[in-house]
């Protein structure tokens, strides 16, 4: 008997309700208050949605998947808390970051507790093979750390290629989307081949998603973005835009900014953005993004389930692609 397939909205409602019901209680409050604070700031809940969308597509029990989904979302938030310390970021989702509000030590330790709690949530589900679920989770988790280290390394490294950059965002952002989907597949007992395809769908989707995030960092609406617009430009982050602009810019403006440590932030952001426009790297970035989205969709096409079961994930892909166009 086929389960009735859930719509994207139905899955999102289940996921948002599950995530919003998370309240990690315990003492001392100094440890737990920041955890509940960061989880309460919202976010798009993309990763937990992917666990459930994949599980439902392969006709598994979404109730089981919700535990793993919570684990993935808490893990993602842990990584944000620690990244924000390392990146010296003051704002997250338009609010003060934990280290800004409570100090670095609290942010380190609350982040650690979140990472441990992420495993707790995953453990609460009943799976055919817990070890397999955790192995996928762990592989992505360690790759997220590798991506973050590369991201930091590239800040002080002037020569970064587009390939290196794509590999970095694959690790830092995309593999967790792939893992979320693969865990949903494994929970549902999908074939190894389909589990691999849905993982590849997620990773390519994730690369496209991060390229758009970098685009929005420069060209997004400050009201909607939740982070400081131009933050990547100010910190010389070697994004696709940046790397291509250095390559194509004949005026030397990009290299001058690379070597200037003392500057007016608005002046630098405006100047670099005008190079981005002049060299057309804004359009190149959108083109590159679309390339990865197309690869992602080609993987989804190959998955061995009936087309109607893929509808919610296709709707999800459309939602992601449209967010800035």
């Amino acid at each position: 008997m086929l389960n009735k397939q859930l719509s994207l909205d139905e899955v999102m409602n289940l996921v948002v309700e599950a995530i919003e019901s998370i309240n990690i209680s315990g003492t001392p409050k100094e440890l737990y208050e920041p955890i509940n604070y960061i989880l309460s700031l919202g976010g798009k809940r993309l990763r937990p949605a992917l666990v459930c969308l994949s599980c439902d597509m392969f006709q598994g029990e979404v109730a089981s998947a919700l535990h793993a989904a919570k684990g993935i979302e808490v893990f993602h938030n842990f990584s944000l808390v620690h990244d924000d310390i390392m990146d010296n970021a003051n704002l997250r989702r338009g609010k003060e970051t934990i280290h800004e509000k409570w100090g670095n030590n609290v942010a380190i330790l609350s982040g650690d507790a979140m990472l441990i709690k992420a495993y707790d949530f995953v453990l609460q589900g009943k799976y055919k093979d817990l070890s397999e679920v955790l192995t996928i989770f762990n592989q992505a988790a360690i790759e997220v750390c590798e991506g973050q280290q590369l991201d930091m390394d590239y800040e002080t490294q002037n020569e970064v290629t587009v390939e290196e950059y794509i590999n970095m965002i694959r690790l830092k952002t995309s593999v967790l989307l792939g893992a979320a989907l693969k865990i949903g597949a494994v929970i549902s007992g999908a074939s190894e081949e389909d589990a691999k395809l849905i993982y590849d769908f997620g990773v390519n989707m994730g690369v496209g998603f991060q390229l758009m995030d970098d685009y929005l960092d420069a060209f997004g609406d400050p009201e909607k973005f939740g982070k400081k617009v131009g933050g990547d430009i100010i910190s010389n982050k070697k994004t696709f835009l940046f790397i291509k602009a250095v390559e194509l810019d004949e005026s030397g403006v990009m290299n001058t900014w690379l070597d200037t440590n003392d500057f007016d932030e608005k002046e630098k952001v405006d100047s670099v953005k005008s190079v981005y426009k002049k060299t057309g790297v804004d359009l190149l970035c959108v083109k590159e993004m679309n390339k990865y989205y197309e690869i992602a969709l080609s993987k989804l096409d190959l998955i061995n389930v009936d087309e109607p079961q893929k509808k919610a994930l296709r709707d999800f892909s459309d939602y992601i692609r449209k967010r800035a166009q």
Copy 2:
């Protein structure tokens, strides 16, 4: 058929060999080099030894336990790396701490990767019930974070009772010893009652162990201690010695030091140590420590295995107790 029981030396040799063989490879090297550095600094390897001693006492397969043992040791080292950032400690086992050598960001991220790798090691073992092993592990892991938070809270809180202090060290140090032993028991299929008794043995042993560590911080041999002697005194850490000295000291010297922020370190350490001696809290500390060791041994007595099987754990307890007497 009974397994031949392993001696303490035999277990320690297996454990040290297993831990020393750990080489966590991967890129970027900026992430992995600090992990292998901290693991190479040695340490007493008490926690992994406890997993294996317990497993062997309950006649389980030590080869299986070694995976969990590695996980526990890597977790312990993760907690040291992050604690050293928070405590601003420059030395660990007589060598530079990671944050001192590579900076805070590297120490945060390498620590995160170690925490994830700890789960990887646990996952490599084959257990009857992986979920149970991980639940014990996770419970201890989160309590270690709670203990660290309390420890930090107490640094700026002038009124801390002995009970609060003992609860803090129970969380920060002892529960992981208890969990190491309980995981060894569960791997061997020990009864729930015995698993609880061995956990309690470990926790009480751990409280005694930490009381001795605090004692050594003030009165230990700087050559052997590996950390800065007097570090607790300098940072106003509310140890058993400190709390009891404030209670018993009629000269007001302790309270004066509490309120003095600008001081010569050697002068403060010498002055506080002389109050410790004068009030006799050094002897009280040893007495308190022995109380917990006795409780621990009474738990070991109750465990339902033949006395010869307990020999290696008894030898271990003797080794721990004797390290400073």
